[in-house]
């Protein structure tokens, strides 16, 4: 349940350096957690240039996990069906390696790629049906620095930091940050 005083302050910057300066000051002076700050931009920056959230991304790990699940499923599907439908073909063993391997490989690719896609969507927190902090001017090239503020005093402090760093516009946004 959201507190009545909770809000998000969004500062819009025209250039990278002032935005980076504001972000550094908010991080150091505001003692904020990773989830309390967010950089919004329509174009990606080199990693580390403007980054508020440095939390671990589980995408590679989950992709590998589902690849392994795919291999096991493929082996069970191909090997299992061969054992269930006994049909000797061209002198080959009932449970033969190459066809089982190929099917395991196909299922591995299908599982790994699907897992990568759905995990990416999940990690991006999409689809999101509730409105979140945003400003359409970001798609016109402005850089947004958003800070979650639990009370009015911290919000005023954040506004001061953003203003002194050179934000072209600052506003409070009642919508959720994340």
């Amino acid at each position: 349940m959201r507190n009545r005083d909770e809000t998000t302050v969004l500062g819009l910057f025209a250039d990278i350096d002032p935005a980076a300066s504001a972000l550094n000051r908010l991080q150091s002076e505001g003692h904020r957690l990773e989830n309390d700050l967010m950089v919004l931009s329509s174009v990606p920056f080199p990693e580390g240039a403007l980054e508020a959230d440095t939390s671990k991304i589980r995408l590679p790990r989950l992709t590998v996990t589902f690849a392994v699940v795919g291999i096991i499923t493929g082996i069970l599907l191909a090997g299992g069906s061969a054992e269930l439908y006994l049909l000797r073909t061209g002198g080959k063993p009932i449970l033969s390696g190459p066809p089982t391997g190929i099917i395991a490989y196909e299922i591995m690719m299908l599982f790994a790629l699907s897992a990568a896609f759905f995990t990416a969507i999940y990690e991006m927190r999409l689809p999101s049906w509730r409105a979140r902090v945003y400003d359409p001017r970001i798609s016109e090239g402005l850089i947004g620095i958003a800070a979650y503020c639990p009370d009015d005093e911290i919000a005023t402090q954040a506004e001061d930091i953003l203003k002194s760093a050179g934000a072209v516009d600052i506003r409070r946004d009642a919508r959720d940050l994340i």
């Binding site: 025209a14 250039d15 990278i16 967010m38 950089v39 919004l40 931009s41 329509s42 174009v43 990606p44 920056f45 080199p46 990693e47 580390g48 980054e51 508020a52 959230d53 939390s55 991304i57 995408l59 590679p60 992709t63 599907l77 191909a78 069906s81 061969a82 269930l84 439908y85 049909l87 073909t89 061209g90 080959k92 033969s96 190929i102 099917i103 299922i107 690719m109 299908l110 790994a112 790629l113 699907s114 990568a116 896609f117 990416a120 990690e123 991006m124 927190r125 999409l126 689809p127 999101s128 979140r132 902090v133 945003y134 359409p136 970001i138 798609s139 016109e140 090239g141 402005l142 850089i143």
Partner: protein, 462 residues
């Protein structure tokens, strides 16, 4: 050299009229003249698609099953187009993997080729049906297979489908930021705003979202290339070679894959030329792109020749009478076509593109690309159909007019895919363009100026 401020703010490029042209093409109603052209080409291509469908299902499937001049040619036509479209997506992935600086204007148009697979439900049954019929002619012992569940058909569909699926996922994820910009720039309350709002699913461009996108893109491009190779191997061995009579080749699948990639690069050149015309230049595509594509064609032409030669040499050296007869048949029955394949798939891409003036000009590179596509199409035909020559007179092996209609229908499907996709997806990645432009600059170094670009550090170092 002064490297300060190489990285520019997005606002320097985000509202630049040239950079936003692809967005404008989606959001604004085209002028009357362009709309007329679009409607004409859509109807023209759709007519060919419908005609090809009628020819295959209402006439070919009923009366032409034993006519290689129609049935086999239709099968290899489909293989050709599957190779081109999957190759284009794989080429896009390869450009990303190699961090090619010239990739940005090419990625999106190449990714769109994956949408050809949306027509898959109409195509794959035909592919499988045609193969069944061709196997029925005694070219291979299809029954009593080792694949059990649903036979090889199901696994072939999974394999070919996975390659397209990878392309769709890559296309959707990398188009998300563009959908969000389209949402923001569409008129308040308009259909476009609602539509792109749903597609963007509240993408905001947060630093976390960009980080995830970069990693997902990195994983999907590797998956796309792997799926492409596997899918082409299946198409090459299970559909093209298995449909050929009494011909076994262990190097055929790599050769087939390379041919697909060569045809994909050639088609990329043509799509790039058309895109450049539609966007009227605007600095998206320049000599750098054409030059690089020409160089890639040289490399692929050389590899193509190497594989083809290896395949020929083992047969020539072994001189097994039956095998030698099959191999030689296509040259003996169709000497001009065999010469055209060698010339268009190898000699021309290599020697034609060696000239800087030819490969850096759309006309020169475009002509080489059209001929390379013709070369690969002929290659597909020669690899399968003439192997039936001992049992059929040559005139029955020549592509019939309905078979050519099927090929044109499949070509119409390709053009139609782009015409429909371009209505909803910017034909150039807006954020990709902006990313390249915010990170590129020209700096003075000694007595010269050099282009400087900020590249991302590898994912594993972050």
């Amino acid at each position: 050299m002064d490297f300060s401020n190489v990285l520019k703010s997005p606002r320097h490029v985000a509202t630049d009229e040239n950079a936003t042209e692809p967005l404008r093409l989606v959001l604004e109603r085209p002028p009357r003249q362009r709309l007329t052209k679009l409607v004409f080409w859509t109807i023209f291509c759709a007519a060919f698609v419908v005609l090809a469908g009628i020819v295959i299902w209402a006439w070919g499937a009923v009366t032409q099953k034993h006519n290689p001049g129609f049935w086999h040619v239709s099968l290899v036509s489909l293989l050709f187009w599957l190779g081109v479209t999957q190759g284009m997506v794989a080429f896009s992935a390869l450009l990303r993997m190699s961090h090619a600086a010239w990739r940005y204007p090419l990625n999106r148009p190449l990714d769109i080729a994956s949408l050809y697979g949306v027509w898959g439900p109409a195509l794959i049954p035909f592919l499988i049906y045609a193969r069944h019929e061709i196997y029925g002619l005694g070219s291979s012992d299809y029954r009593n297979n080792v694949w059990r569940v649903a036979g090889p058909d199901f696994w072939d569909a999974v394999c070919i489908g996975t390659a397209y699926l990878a392309g769709w996922m890559l296309l959707y994820l990398t188009a998300l930021p563009d959908f969000s910009v389209l949402r923001d720039r569409a008129e308040e309350g308009s259909w476009n705003r609602r539509f792109f709002g749903r597609l963007a699913t509240l993408w905001r461009g947060s630093d976390h979202q960009w980080r995830v996108l970069r990693r997902a893109e990195g994983i999907l491009v590797v998956g796309t290339v792997i799926s492409f190779v596997v899918s082409q191997t299946v198409l090459g061995w299970d559909f093209q070679l298995a449909a050929a009579r009494d011909w076994d080749s262990s190097i055929f699948a790599p050769l087939y894959t390379i041919s697909s990639l060569l045809s994909a690069v050639a088609m990329t050149v043509l799509v790039t030329i058309v895109n450049n015309r539609i966007l009227r230049g605007r600095g998206f595509i320049d000599e750098f792109q054409y030059d690089s594509l020409g160089r890639v064609m040289i490399a692929l032409g050389l590899v193509w020749f190497y594989f083809r030669w290896c395949d020929y040499l083992t047969t020539w050296y072994g001189r097994i009478p039956h095998e030698w007869y099959i191999q030689n048949n296509r040259i003996a029955a169709f000497p001009i076509l065999a010469a055209m394949t060698l010339l268009f798939c190898s000699a021309l891409p290599i020697f034609g593109n060696m000239f800087h003036k030819i490969r850096t000009r759309p006309l020169g590179l475009g002509i080489i690309s059209v001929l390379a596509l013709i070369g690969v199409a002929i290659e597909r035909y020669l690899d399968t159909v003439p192997t039936f020559a001992p049992d059929y007179p040559v005139h029955e092996l020549v592509p019939s007019i309905p078979a050519i209609l099927v090929f044109l229908g499949l070509a119409g499907m390709f053009v139609l895919t782009y015409l429909i996709a371009a209505r909803y997806i910017p034909i150039m990645s807006w954020w990709g363009t902006c990313k390249a432009r915010t990170r590129t600059d020209v700096r003075k170094l000694g007595n010269t100026t050099v282009p400087v670009m900020v590249e991302d550090v590898p994912v594993w170092e972050t």
